[in-house]
């Protein structure tokens, strides 16, 4: 018997509850209370409007480069909504909607992308990590947090965000492997938005799905319609419950789309067609969710309008607060803060050098 079948647990599913036309699969519909449904909608809309406002701030030169989130609100809000505030969230760099849901003040996000380190300050009550720019590298920190959770025998779980491009990086594979070996309570949340700057998914991987990569590490994986908040929430809830009850890690692939640019420094017209973008815009996560809420009689057009007004006021207030703070954050010596627990003497000397220059006492040679 030189060749025989090896039985590997190989279940791979795609989950869609509310399709792009707003058609609902009643059997799969998660049981979400009305107030939570409205809260989810509000967070998605806030994410969208905040993103648009950030883009206009950037175009006006009031903040620097940032990575827009538009189109990915369901993936972000639906997944973090399954977490408790005592759980950990490890973002990459395109998760503003998720960060705001988790309690990050919008003015901090504006400050951060406005070039002020103070914006990176994580609140003492928060268990979110700050954003991480090198692709996939943050995945391993989530695994370390998860290992520590097991070590301390608490019931926290960890959710880590990354994109389709990250699945080509070694750190993704190492992280999944370690999480499998140690059965850490980590949810690997992949936002497959189809593009890693100019590289389409087909050039990122030859595999049918990204979720199936989990199987190679002995981890359950599921692919969901990432523009369907009900599907994302249902999958995230299942994964969180599994992790919390000692069932180990899960990978969730949210199939979504980056409808705008990679960052504000990018021009997507160089590598993809308008037709493609327009096709995805028809799958907008907000539009179908509005229809669902109206069909379910959870909200009316007037209610949506009221939320829209509220959200815009909230964003305006955050922009005002951020710009007010920026005026006060004019001390360049702040750059020496938080380098070490205690500043070494060589750094004290360098700090004094800058202080002297700032006082205008530095003699020109």
């Amino acid at each position: 018997m030189p060749r025989k079948k090896i039985n590997i647990p190989c279940k791979m599913e795609f989950l869609s509850v509310l399709d792009e036309k707003g058609k609902l699969d009643k059997n799969l519909e998660p049981d979400i209370p009305e107030d939570l449904l409205l809260k989810l909608y509000r967070a998605m809309l806030l994410g969208r409007r905040f993103d648009e406002r950030m883009l206009s701030l950037q175009r006006q030169g009031r903040i620097g480069t940032f990575a827009p989130t538009s189109g990915q609100e369901a993936s972000q809000v639906g997944s973090v909504a399954a977490l408790r505030s005592s759980d950990w969230m490890v973002p990459s760099f395109r998760e503003a909607a998720a960060q705001i849901w988790r309690g990050a003040p919008m003015e901090n996000i504006i400050l951060y992308f406005g070039g002020y380190n103070e914006g990176g300050r994580i609140e003492d009550t928060s268990k979110d990590l700050p954003i991480s720019v090198p692709v996939a590298s943050q995945i391993l920190h989530a695994v370390g947090l998860g290992w520590a959770v097991n070590y301390r025998k608490t019931d926290e779980v960890v959710m880590v965000f990354f994109g389709d491009g990250a699945t080509s990086e070694g750190d993704f594979h190492e992280g999944m492997n370690f999480a499998g070996v140690y059965q850490t309570p980590v949810i690997f949340l992949c936002q497959n938005n189809q593009w890693a700057i100019s590289i389409p998914l087909s050039r990122q991987t030859h595999s049918e799905t990204l979720a199936q990569k989990a199987l190679g590490y002995g981890i359950p994986g599921i692919q969901v319609d990432g523009n369907d908040i009900l599907a994302v929430y249902a999958a995230a809830k299942e994964a969180v419950e599994r992790a919390r009850s000692g069932g180990g890690p899960t990978m969730i692939e949210c199939v979504t789309y980056r409808v705008t640019m990679h960052t504000t420094a990018d021009d997507p017209k160089r590598y993809r067609t308008e037709d493609e973008v327009e096709g995805w815009k028809k799958k907008d996560p907000l539009v179908r969710f509005e229809k669902y809420l109206m069909d379910k009689k959870v909200a009316t057009k007037d209610k949506f309008q009221a939320i829209e007004t509220e959200v815009k006021e909230e964003i305006q207030a955050a922009v005002d607060r951020a710009e007010e703070q920026m005026k006060k954050l004019d001390d360049p010596l702040q750059m020496f803060e938080h380098a070490y627990a205690e500043l070494p003497s060589s750094l004290k000397e360098q700090r004094a050098e800058l202080a002297e220059e700032l006082k205008g006492m530095h003699k020109e040679k």
Binding site: N117, E118, G120, R121, I122, E123, D124, S126, L129, P130, S132, V133, P134, S137, Q138, I139, L140, H141, A142, V143, G144, L145, G146, W147, A148, V149, Y151, R152, G170, D171, E174, G175, N177, F178, V181, E337, H338, A339, Y340, A341, P344, S345, S346, L347
Partner: protein, 327 residues
């Protein structure tokens, strides 16, 4: 007091810290059941179990990345990278994250982890097993780079490194692991990180070194006294970064002459930084050029020729005499 090798002293430091503090977890390739390829973690698994002496899959980036997450959570991970020559797999985790979480989160999180790795030549090893690349880590803001030179200070410094609130890269010379024994007190002993030590007093010449090169440097100092009546002051840096320049600047102001000895390649090496500090802070006291006795700017040769690459007592003496005869 017991006479111990550096291997035993490092093992003792880990054991004592693990007994005191359940946040301390040792992890890495082969550190558990096998006790580490150099046996630094020998027996820890028997005393503390396989969670606290954790065998990992073979992936350096994940070992370090996971340690970062553990440290952020509140543990005190001590990870072992089997050879510093394999630490490039994890280099970005140190440069991009371990060094930055305190700064990035503006003080909300910090990364109290230690990365231990053997470095240096002299043990007839394979390619990638003999390099001295401390400068890569010494150059990184947010990181501390420590290199002990013997069993007793290795034990004290490792304890300090584990308790340090910031990430510490701790390089151990393979050539020193079993080279000699020293009295190591059973009672707790620590040494401050960021502080060098004067290990030999003198007034004619300042010799600055660290790690495995302390032994030939001290031997050269004895030869100079014996044969030439020269009193050399010898400084053991112990911490490469942040660099304690006070001690060697004060010494050179007294002696007027300085020689730096390290195994790492010369260009942009620790000797370059030390020479620059001396020029900045003791220029008018210098009576001769600053000498550097170092590895050459090439890949360290395979072991049949490594002795000619690593600074020898003779090479140190030759350079020392040159500057002693200047001015």
């Amino acid at each position: 007091m017991a006479k111990m090798t550096m291997v035993q002293a490092l093992n003792m430091a880990l054991r004592q810290e693990m007994e005191k503090d359940d946040r301390v977890v040792v992890l890495g390739e082969d550190v558990g059941v096998d006790g580490g390829v150099f046996r630094i973690t020998d027996g820890l698994i028997d005393q503390f179990g396989d969670k606290r002496s954790l065998d990992t899959p073979l992936a350096e980036s994940a070992i370090v990345g996971m340690s970062i997450g553990m440290a952020i959570y509140g543990l005190r991970p001590v990870c072992e990278i089997q050879f510093s020559g394999f630490s490039y797999h994890n280099f970005h985790q140190i440069e991009n994250h371990a060094s930055r979480y305190r700064w990035r989160s503006q003080g909300r999180y910090h990364v109290p982890m230690v990365l231990r790795a053997p470095y240096s030549g002299g043990v007839r090893a394979l390619e990638h097993h003999s390099e001295s690349r401390e400068i890569y880590y010494a150059h990184m803001p947010g990181i501390k780079m420590v290199i002990p030179s013997g069993p007793r200070n290795a034990r004290s410094l490792l304890i300090s490194a584990i308790r340090d609130p910031d990430p510490v890269i701790f390089f151990e010379s393979k050539a020193l692991y079993r080279a000699f024994r020293e009295e190591v007190p059973e009672d707790e002993e620590t040494l401050p990180i960021g502080k060098s030590q004067i290990v030999r007093q003198g007034s004619d010449l300042t010799m600055i070194s660290y790690g495995a090169m302390m032994r030939p440097t001290l031997e050269a100092a004895s030869e100079l006294e014996k044969n030439d009546g020269v009193q050399a002051e010898v400084i053991d840096l112990l911490t490469i970064s942040p660099l304690d320049d006070e001690t060697f600047v004060r010494s050179v102001k007294k002696t007027g002459r300085a020689i730096v000895v390290h195994e790492a390649p010369r260009s942009f090496g620790p000797g370059a930084e030390i020479a620059a500090r001396l020029v900045e802070k003791a220029f008018f006291y210098l009576e001769a050029p600053i000498a550097r006795v170092t590895g050459f700017d090439i890949i360290i040769p395979l072991f049949s020729r490594e002795k000619s690459y690593i600074p020898s007592v003779q090479r140190i003496l030759r350079e020392a005499k040159k500057i002693l005869n200047t001015g």
